[in-house]
Structure formats: structure tokens, C-alpha cells
């Protein structure tokens, strides 16, 4: 299947040059050297080709052969992706461990999707049906409950001439035959798709359903829509990974694709060991049963890190095509950009900003544009939401990756070092963050909880920005100089910050807040504010409000009121009534 197309003439790290055939294609997958390392052609000039190699090149010699495959870098798609853990070029890490031990050796070749495993398959088409690309031919049970909808390759169409009976099949067994023009084609559950080519769909729908993450600062204040794109930039130690993990755990998506791109090995191990034991609150099944992991840690070959983002997004699009909501986490896109920079540097390309290649912005745009809530070719609807972490050097948001990312996302969750230092988590700064989806998802909230989410959210935001203005004054003259009405604002915003925005990912009750609980807490705090403000305006000193026992109860409500017992919030509201009522009576006269 592969023939020699050239010989290596130059090697520098992950980049090699070779001379040979003029028929090698741009972005063609090639095998490099006697060990058949995976590489991709990234430049052609006369008979000279430039190749980035996805594995360690130490020990490789000039004169070693290059083998062509005639195919672009592709992923295998089919049942068995879920619960898998792959490296950046879709090599299954557990099989590598089995074959090579604890360390990743090069030259390992395994099928990404098992050829032996049998899937329970039920056909959904019959002989004589006219089918077009993307059509659902049948379903295979990928886990006990997850329905893997087997689709026709988007590029194919024709008439069904044979259908396999319901039964157990491997991904290599034929499940249907198709007459395409004059030729007959056998279809299996397995297909390949080039990673750098977005999978086709009919058209985009409006993104107006929020991706519910159970994280109050995200859902209530800065929501991302299903099919939207969000960025999380932050300096080290500000909690990017914890936030990404929380979203991966709790987001109401049917499939999660988690890409550990140039990050720590232990973090991937944590996901691997934790997710099988965590239960998805919606399906009641282990979280791992909806998760695909791509792990290309920081010490794994840098070119494969570049590919990992594309491998992940292609898998996400595949599940979207089945009609599922998919959430993709990429941690971190900065490491991916650095991989681009490293390869670009070895190619001696003219650098643009901070050594990054001039096409950085273009690549980021291509990636984020693969998010979307779409009408699929087969008539179903599905979405891919992207949450990309950004690791700006020195926490400086003016650097190129953060700046370019901001152009292509509509939701920006800015992490803040000083909040993290004070152990305010998630350390998302509410004044620097924004979401352009707020207006888009307001109707959904109204419909789901029957309350004016938008109004309350905006009031809370106003109070928080008022707090920021007031705290400037406090810094200069101390809090005593403020009138009581303004100090009432500070009392309330403290409740918002500590009782709503702060959320403890490691505490059972607090880790996930249902939308009803979120809106309930917000309503309670605003109610407290209105009652308190009325009393203060009548001349009651602020210290009386500050010292009310209910203040503590409101702050602790996030961890004392479970999602299933929201009536406890009403009890706290009654306490507000009682305690405020007393003060009210005293100062009414």
C-alpha cells in the first residue's frame, strides 16, 4: 500500500526534508524512515518535500526512505470511540501501554478502533431505499445506553441493494450494500475522514440554547450557547484546568471530547481515573461513557500536539452529525499555537508577532468556526460547542493567541490571578468576562424556569460594577465614608461573590448547581437587597443588616441546599422576612 517516494536529506527535530517524487501531495500522510514513523507533508518545492513527523526523530539518518500513502492525515470513525483515550494522531494509548510498557516508544501502530469487538447493530434502512450522504443506516449500541448512529459517508449516495440483519457485527463486517451509479459499494460501520477538512452539514441554526454546565458564574452570568465557542484565558494557577474539568463533568452535552493538548500527564490520568467513577446526573451512567479523551501531553512529540486539535474536532463533528450535542474542551490552545510556532521556526518562515507564524489567526479561526449548531445532512440537528483554554505568557492578555482568539469566540471567561490567590474559585473575573449569547438564550431561561433570568442577571451585574466603582472610593477613604445605601450595595455584592460566584468543585453539594437552584439563589440575594435597601433608606444603620444571622445562611446556602431540596431556599427567604421584618418595624416609626 505504501511505496517509497523519496529519501531524507535534512533533519531538525520534528521537521525533516526529503527529495524524491514530484507526485507526493500537500498534506499527504507519509511514513518516515525504516521505523515507518507517521509524518505529514507540509511543504513542496520542486522535488523537495518538507515533512512534519509526529514521533521522536532521534537516531534517524539522512538517506532513510520516505513512503507515501496517497491519503491525507485522517481519523477512523465508528463505534468504539467513546471511552477511548488516544494520542494526538489517534493512536490508542492503552494498547501502546500493553505492547510497550509504561513509556511511549516510537513506531507503535495500532488500529484506533478495535477490529474484533462486536457491536449490537440494528438496521434502519431497507433494500430499495434511496440514501444520500450522512443518512443513518442503522444504530449500534456503543455503551449500554448510547446509540451510535451509523451514517453513510457524506461523499456517498445511491440505492440500497442489501442490508445486514440485526445482529452483532465488527466494524469490518458489511452492514449494507449500495448501488452508486454503475458500481456497488459495501458499507461497514467504519469510515475515515481527513482531520483538516470540516465535515459537511446543511446549514447553521441560531445558537439560542445554553450549554448548561452547572457552574453558576457560567450559566447565570456568562452563558455559552450550544454550538457556541468560549475561551478561558488565564495565567498559571488560575484554574483553567479545573474549570475545564468541571465543564467536562457537568455540561449537559451528550458527548464530551476532551483534548489535553501539551498539558500535564497527571491531569489526564486524573480524568482517566475519576470519570469512570463519576455519575452523569442526567443519564445516571458513568461520565466516561460519554467521553472521548485525546491526550498529547507536553512531553509527547510536538507535531502530534498540532494534530490533536484536529483529531478531536473531527470526532466531535462526527457525533454532531448523528444528531447529538457535543462539547469539546481544548486545554490548551496556546500549546497548540506554540507547536505551530515551533514547526514554523524550524521551517525558517518569517515570523509575525512574538515568533508566531503569520497564519496563526487563520488557523485559530478555522478551528473555532468548526463549532456550530447545525442542521445535519440526515435531517437531524446537532451541535459542537468549543471551550478553549488559553495560557497567555505572564498572564498578559495582549499577547497574540489571546487577542486572536477573542476575535473568533463570543464568550470570554477571563481568569484572574488575584482571585485565585484569594482562593476565590472559579477565579473568573466578572468585570473582564463577557458573553454575547446572553440575549440569545434569555427566552430559553424564561421558558425553562418561568422567571425573568435576564432581568435578574443584569441587576446583579449592575450591582457588581457599582461595587467596583465603590471599592475604588473605599480604597481611598475607607468604607465608613460611604452613605448607608452604598454600603448596602457592598453587603449584597459580598453575598453575590461568596454565595453565588464562588463555587467549590470538590464539594459534593456545591459542585453542580441546577438551573433552578441558580436562579433561586440569585432571587434570594436580590430579595435580601431590596428588603435591606428599604430599611437602610429609613435610616437604619448598615451594621444591623450586616449582623443579621441570615447573611451567613445565604452565603452557605450553596452548600447546604442540595439541588433536590430547593424548598430550603424558601426557608431562608422566610428568615429574611422575619429578621428584616423586625428591623423594618423598628425603623418604620
Amino acid at each position: 500500500m505504501s511505496e517509497e517516494v523519496g529519501k531524507i536529506t535534512w533533519i531538525s527535530g520534528p521537521v525533516v526534508r526529503a527529495r524524491g517524487s514530484r507526485h507526493v501531495g500537500m498534506l499527504e500522510l507519509v511514513e518516515v524512515g525504516e521505523d515507518h514513523l507517521v509524518g505529514e507533508v507540509i511543504g513542496l518545492k520542486g522535488d523537495q518535500m518538507t515533512i512534519q513527523v509526529y514521533e521522536e526523530t532521534a537516531g534517524m539518518q539522512t538517506g532513510a526512505p520516505i513512503y507515501g500513502t496517497g491519503l491525507p492525515l485522517s481519523v477512523e470513525l465508528g463505534p468504539g470511540l467513546i471511552q477511548s483515550i488516544y494520542d494526538g494522531v489517534q493512536r490508542p494509548l492503552p494498547l501502546i501501554e500493553e505492547a510497550m510498557g509504561s513509556f511511549i516508544n516510537r513506531g507503535a501502530r495500532f488500529d484506533p478502533i478495535s477490529r474484533e469487538k462486536k457491536w449490537k447493530y440494528t438496521p434502519k434502512v431497507k433494500v430499495g431505499d434511496e440514501v444520500t450522504g450522512g443518512a443513518i443506516l442503522g444504530v449500534a449500541m456503543e455503551t449500554d445506553t448510547f446509540e451510535h448512529r451509523v451514517m453513510l459517508n457524506p461523499d456517498d449516495s445511491g440505492t440500497i441493494t442489501w442490508v445486514a440483519e440485526a445482529g452483532e457485527y465488527t466494524v469490518n463486517d458489511p452492514i449494507a450494500k449500495l448501488k452508486m451509479g454503475k458500481e456497488e459499494k459495501t458499507v461497514t460501520m467504519l469510515q475515515r475522514w481527513p482531520v483538516r477538512r470540516a465535515r459537511p452539514f446543511v446549514n447553521r441554526r441560531g445558537a439560542n440554547i445554553p450549554l448548561i454546565t452547572g457552574q453558576r458564574i457560567l450559566d447565570t452570568f456568562f452563558p455559552v450557547a450550544k454550538g457556541g465557542a468560549a475561551g478561558i484565558p488565564g495565567p498559571f494557577g488560575s484554574g483553567k484546568t479545573v474549570t475545564q474539568h468541571s465543564i467536562a463533568k457537568w455540561a449537559d452535552a451528550e458527548v464530551i471530547v476532551y483534548i489535553g493538548c501539551g498539558e500535564r500527564g497527571n491531569e489526564m490520568t486524573e480524568v482517566l481515573q475519576e470519570f469512570p467513577h463519576l455519575i452523569d446526573p442526567r443519564s445516571g451512567r458513568p461520565l466516561m461513557e460519554r467521553t472521548v479523551l485525546i491526550a498529547n501531553t507536553s512531553n509527547m512529540p510536538v507535531a502530534a500536539r498540532e494534530a490533536s486539535i484536529y483529531t478531536g474536532i473531527t470526532i466531535a463533528e462526527y457525533y454532531r452529525d448523528m444528531g447529538y450535542h457535543v462539547a469539546l474542551m481544548a486545554d490548551s490552545t496556546s500549546r497548540w499555537a506554540e507547536a505551530l510556532r515551533e514547526v514554523s521556526g524550524r521551517l525558517e518562515e518569517m515570523p509575525a508577532e512574538e515568533g508566531y507564524p503569520a497564519y496563526l489567526a487563520g488557523r485559530l479561526a478555522e478551528f473555532y468556526e468548526r463549532a456550530g449548531y447545525v442542521n445535519n445532512l440526515n435531517g437531524s440537528q446537532g451541535s459542537v460547542s468549543i471551550v478553549g483554554a488559553v495560557s497567555p505568557p505572564g498572564g498578559d492578555f495582549s499577547e497574540p493567541v489571546t487577542q486572536h482568539t477573542k476575535r473568533f469566540i463570543r464568550c470570554f471567561w477571563a481568569l484572574d490571578k488575584s482571585l485565585a490567590s484569594a482562593r476565590h474559585f472559579p477565579a473568573i473575573n466578572w468585570l473582564d468576562s463577557y458573553s454575547e449569547y446572553v440575549g440569545d438564550v434569555a427566552d430559553w431561561w424564561q421558558e425553562k424556569v418561568g422567571k425573568d433570568w435576564l432581568g435578574m442577571r443584569n441587576r446583579a451585574m449592575e450591582l457588581l460594577s457599582e461595587e467596583s466603582r465603590l471599592s475604588q472610593i473605599v480604597k481611598l477613604v475607607g468604607p465608613d465614608a460611604l452613605p448607608f445605601t452604598e454600603r448596602m450595595v457592598l453587603e449584597t455584592t459580598r453575598l453575590i461573590r461568596e454565595g453565588i460566584l464562588q463555587q467549590n468543585a470538590t464539594e459534593a453539594v456545591d459542585a453542580y448547581s441546577s438551573i433552578e437552584k441558580q436562579i433561586g439563589l440569585l432571587e434570594l440575594v436580590l430579595y435580601f437587597h431590596d428588603r435591606g435597601m428599604a430599611i437602610v433608606k429609613r435610616g437604619a444603620p448598615i451594621s444591623l443588616i450586616h449582623d443579621l444571622p441570615v447573611v451567613d445562611a445565604i452565603i452557605r446556602a450553596k452548600s447546604t441546599v442540595p439541588n433536590e431540596e430547593l424548598s430550603k431556599l424558601d426557608d431562608i427567604r422566610k428568615q429574611v422576612d422575619e429578621q428584616m421584618g423586625q428591623l423594618d418595624a423598628e425603623y418604620r416609626s
Binding site: 533533519i11 531538525s12 494509548l93 510498557g101 500527564g265
Partner: protein, 475 residues
């Protein structure tokens, strides 16, 4: 760790160009990328080098000992056909080596047939064990609020003139595997220390040597020394050689290995120097674009794997140029390591030892190694509360510097009092004081008791009931 395969052996006479520590060798064929070369100068003296780039009929070679004395015609280069390997053996504990792993203590070469590639190989994430065993260092600012676990990489970010060496020595001396409060420590687990010095002064290496001797650990220590006056290019190899031995001890000999690397800033400078000579496109502050990947290839050689009982824990030390935490070296290190312990000049001036600036310090793995069944149930929330209170203290201090302490509210004044006590009683401890985790928790609660109960929103009510010692009678 792959075994050595010896091929190659071809020799080339004369070199094309010499620039700093980089040499262009012409005329070799079948040269492989990253292979080791042996360079013979005109007088017949040998030095070693490594291939950085190969092209048709030429190879770019980096000379570890520097190119001083090499000439264009008088130099011959022999390609050894293998990547850089060092011998590894348990007998290397108690010995001292140079930056390339050659003994410099007058003793013989280690007797072993095991040679391992200094570059190592990435650990498969599926083969790792997630770290959960906490190491008790006896230092409150670490055990209490930035807990170190076995298999973690936790750097010390410091500056010139601060006592990072003392702190590292104290950690090495006092580290024991922490058990749940009250439980006896386990005996019989073998430990080892691998120490790598890169570009530090002889005094520093000597300080560590004395400290190991005093604590009786010297026979368990292997030292790899590339001192300030040693060739800078060797520094690229020193930490890798040290980690190669550490991997052998941990993963093949089941030992718990603590690796101390000092000073990574010097390592970064050596890397930048080579990058500059090669004319690579620089990114920030002249450092090469691959600095992150390069650092990761060392820091990620930490951890535990399922096939071995041993572990590697790394404590790299970095002096931040101009105390700037956003400098590329500490910045990229922080993105790779699992937290950082930051030393601060203000505390150091105030005579507080160890001058750990608590707010920017962090242990990412802490949450998984503490709490019920590990240290004590209240530990996680207690830690968050101390952090929150101390952060508030900083705001109050800023306010006090404007309006004066007398104008502060009663609560704010208590925060000031808390802050002072926190620094003097919690952060501050002597170089020889080995505090148990119970003692650390007790001091913390004593300090929190300075504040009114109402301020303690991070700990739960039961814990306040049980541990609060103040005279606050409200609620």
C-alpha cells in the same frame, strides 16, 4: 528506556566551521539526528558533543565542553551512532558526577551494563498512578496550605540572595511520608535523592553536600554537578542525566526518589545561548520558541507508574531574574509544574524564615492528598479559609496605608492582627523545626480564632464548633 545499539563509528577529519559551542562537520554520511560524537582536538584530547541537525553531507554538532582550542583542520570527529546514554546503577548513590554523568569523586566508573538514554521517553498517561500520598515536610506553609505529594513536581521560585537552598535542604532532610494524623509512619521504604546543580556556585553545591552529610543521607544521594565555571553547554544534559538515574531508581528499583534541580534559570540561559548561535527565531526575551516543550521534557519525568512501587518527586529551584514571576523561565515552569512555592523579598527582609509568600504559592495536587483519611477532615476548608483571610488582610493593609490603622473598622483591625500573627507564627519557623501536620493545623485554628466567627465562611459550622478558640460570642 531503550538499550544501547552501537553502530556508526565513522570518523571525519577536519570541520567546516566553528561558532561558539557549535561546529559544522562536513563529509559524514549516514549521520543520525541527536547522535553522540567524540571530538579529538589537535593534541589528541577528547571531548564529547551531540548532533543538533543533519543535512546532506553536513552535520551541526554541539560541543559540550565548548569549542576552545578546536581548529578547523586539527579536529577529528567520530560519530558514535547512538544517542547520549549514561550508566545507571544503584551503586551511583553516594557518588558525585559531572554534568554528563562521569564520576568526579575519584572513584571508579559505576560497574553496570545498564545504560539509559538521557532523553528518556514520555510516560504513557494511561500507565501513570495519580499522586495521592502526601509528604510531610514539617514546614507549615507547605504541609498546611501547599501540600507536596509523592510524584508531584513543585518548584521553588526564588530570587538572588533568598534562602531557597536552606528551604530545599530542610525539605530534603525532613520529608517523610505523611500518614493520617496520629498514625505511625511506614518503615522500610527505600528512598533516594538525586541532586543536579546547573551553573550554581561551588559554595551552593558544597552547602547541599554538607547538609546531606549532617542528616546522614549522603549515602543515598547522587550528585550531578555542573558548576558556574563548568562548560555551559553541558548544562543542557545535566538535569536529564540526573532524571535518567532517578527513573531507573524509581521505576526499576522501586525507590522513592526526590530530585532537586538547581538552578533552572541557568539551564534556560544555556539553552538560549545555543539557540542564538544557531540563529533560531527567538520568541520571548530571546528564548527559543520550544522552551516550553524543552522544559516539559524534564518536568514531566516526574510521577508514579503502575508497574513500580517507586516514585519521582521533583523540586526544581529557579531564581527569578529581577524577582519577575512573568519572566519566561518561571512563567513556563509554572504552566508545566503542579504548583509553585514562591519566596518573597519583603518577608525575607522582615526576618521571616522560610519567606514563603503564601498568596501566589499553590499546590495543584493538594486537594487529592489531604482531608479525611489522609490528613484531617477539616484541612481543605481550613486551608481555603487561611488563604481567604490572608488575602483580605492584604486589602486591609492597603487601606490602612491610606487612611491609617485607627480609622479601620473593628473587623478590619482584627484582620491586621491576624495577618501579623500569620506571618510570625504560621509562616515563620526555624530551620530545624519539624512541625507535625496536627501542630500546623492547630496553629492555623489559633490564628483564625482572632477573627469573628462570622468571617469564617469557608469552614463549616461543625468545624467552627470544634476548633474555634476565640471569645467571639455572636451567633
Amino acid at each position: 528506556m531503550s538499550d544501547v545499539t552501537v553502530r556508526g563509528g565513522q570518523e571525519v577529519h577536519g570541520v567546516g566551521r566553528i561558532e561558539g559551542p557549535i561546529m559544522i562537520v562536513e563529509g559524514g554520511t549516514g549521520v543520525s539526528y541527536d547522535e553522540v560524537v567524540e571530538i579529538k582536538d589537535a593534541r589528541g584530547k577528547l571531548r564529547r558533543g551531540r548532533v543538533l541537525e543533519v543535512g546532506e553531507g553536513f552535520a551541526v554538532v554541539q560541543v559540550f565542553a565548548g569549542s576552545t582550542g578546536l581548529s578547523i583542520d586539527g579536529t577529528s570527529v567520530r560519530f558514535l551512532g547512538t544517542t547520549l546514554h549514561i550508566p545507571v546503577a544503584e551503586e551511583m548513590l553516594g557518588r558525585i558526577f559531572d554534568g554528563l554523568g562521569t564520576p568526579i569523586d575519584g572513584g571508579p566508573e559505576p560497574l553496570t551494563d545498564r545504560y539509559a538514554d538521557v532523553n528518556g521517553q514520555p510516560i504513557n498517561p494511561t500507565a501513570r498512578i495519580y499522586p495521592r500520598d502526601y509528604i510531610q515536610t514539617g514546614i507549615s506553609t507547605i504541609d498546611g496550605v501547599n501540600t507536596l505529594l509523592r510524584g508531584q513536581k513543585l518548584p521553588l521560585f526564588s530570587g538572588a540572595g533568598m534562602p531557597h537552598d536552606q528551604l530545599a535542604a530542610q525539605i530534603v532532610r525532613q520529608a517523610t511520608l505523611g500518614k493520617e494524623a496520629g498514625a505511625p509512619a511506614t518503615e522500610g521504604e527505600e528512598f533516594a535523592i538525586v541532586f543536579a546543580a546547573m551553573g550554581v556556585k561551588n559554595d551552593v553545591a558544597d552547602y547541599f553536600r554538607r547538609s546531606f552529610t549532617e542528616s546522614g543521607a549522603l549515602t543515598r544521594v547522587a550528585m550531578f554537578l555542573n558548576l558556574a565555571d563548568d562548560p555551559p553547554v553541558e548544562r543542557i544534559v545535566t538535569p536529564r542525566a540526573a532524571l535518567t538515574l532517578a527513573e531507573y531508581l524509581a521505576y526499576e528499583r522501586d525507590m522513592h526518589v526526590l530530585v532537586v534541580l538547581t538552578d533552572m534559570t541557568n539551564y534556560g540561559e544555556a539553552l538560549r545561548q545555543i539557540s542564538n548561535v544557531r540563529g533560531e527565531v527567538p520568541s520571548r526575551k530571546g528564548y527559543p520558541g520550544y522552551l516550553y516543550s524543552d522544559l516539559a521534557s524534564m518536568y514531566e519525568r516526574t510521577g508514579r507508574i503502575r508497574t513500580s512501587k517507586g516514585s519521582i518527586t521533583q523540586i526544581p529551584i529557579l531564581t527569578m531574574p529581577n524577582d519577575d514571576i512573568t519572566h519566561p523561565m518561571p512563567d513556563l515552569t509554572g504552566y508545566i509544574t503542579e504548583g509553585q512555592i514562591v519566596l518573597g523579598r519583603e518577608l525575607n527582609f522582615a526576618g521571616i524564615y522560610p519567606p514563603v509568600t503564601v498568596l501566589p504559592s499553590l499546590s495543584r495536587l493538594m486537594k487529592d492528598g489531604i482531608g479525611k483519611g489522609r490528613t484531617r477532615d477539616d484541612h481543605p476548608r481550613w486551608g481555603a479559609q487561611l488563604y481567604a483571610a490572608y488575602a483580605r488582610t492584604q486589602d486591609v493593609r492597603a487601606l490602612a496605608s491610606v487612611i491609617g490603622e485607627e480609622e479601620l473598622s473593628e473587623v478590619d483591625q482584627k484582620y491586621l492582627k491576624f495577618g501579623r500573627a500569620f506571618e510570625r507564627e504560621f509562616v515563620n519557623q526555624s530551620f530545624t523545626e519539624n512541625r507535625s501536620i496536627e501542630r500546623t493545623l492547630e496553629i492555623g485554628w489559633k490564628l483564625l480564632s482572632i477573627l469573628p466567627k462570622k468571617e469564617l465562611t469557608r469552614v463549616n459550622l461543625d468545624e467552627i464548633e470544634k476548633y474555634y478558640q476565640g471569645d467571639d460570642a455572636t451567633n
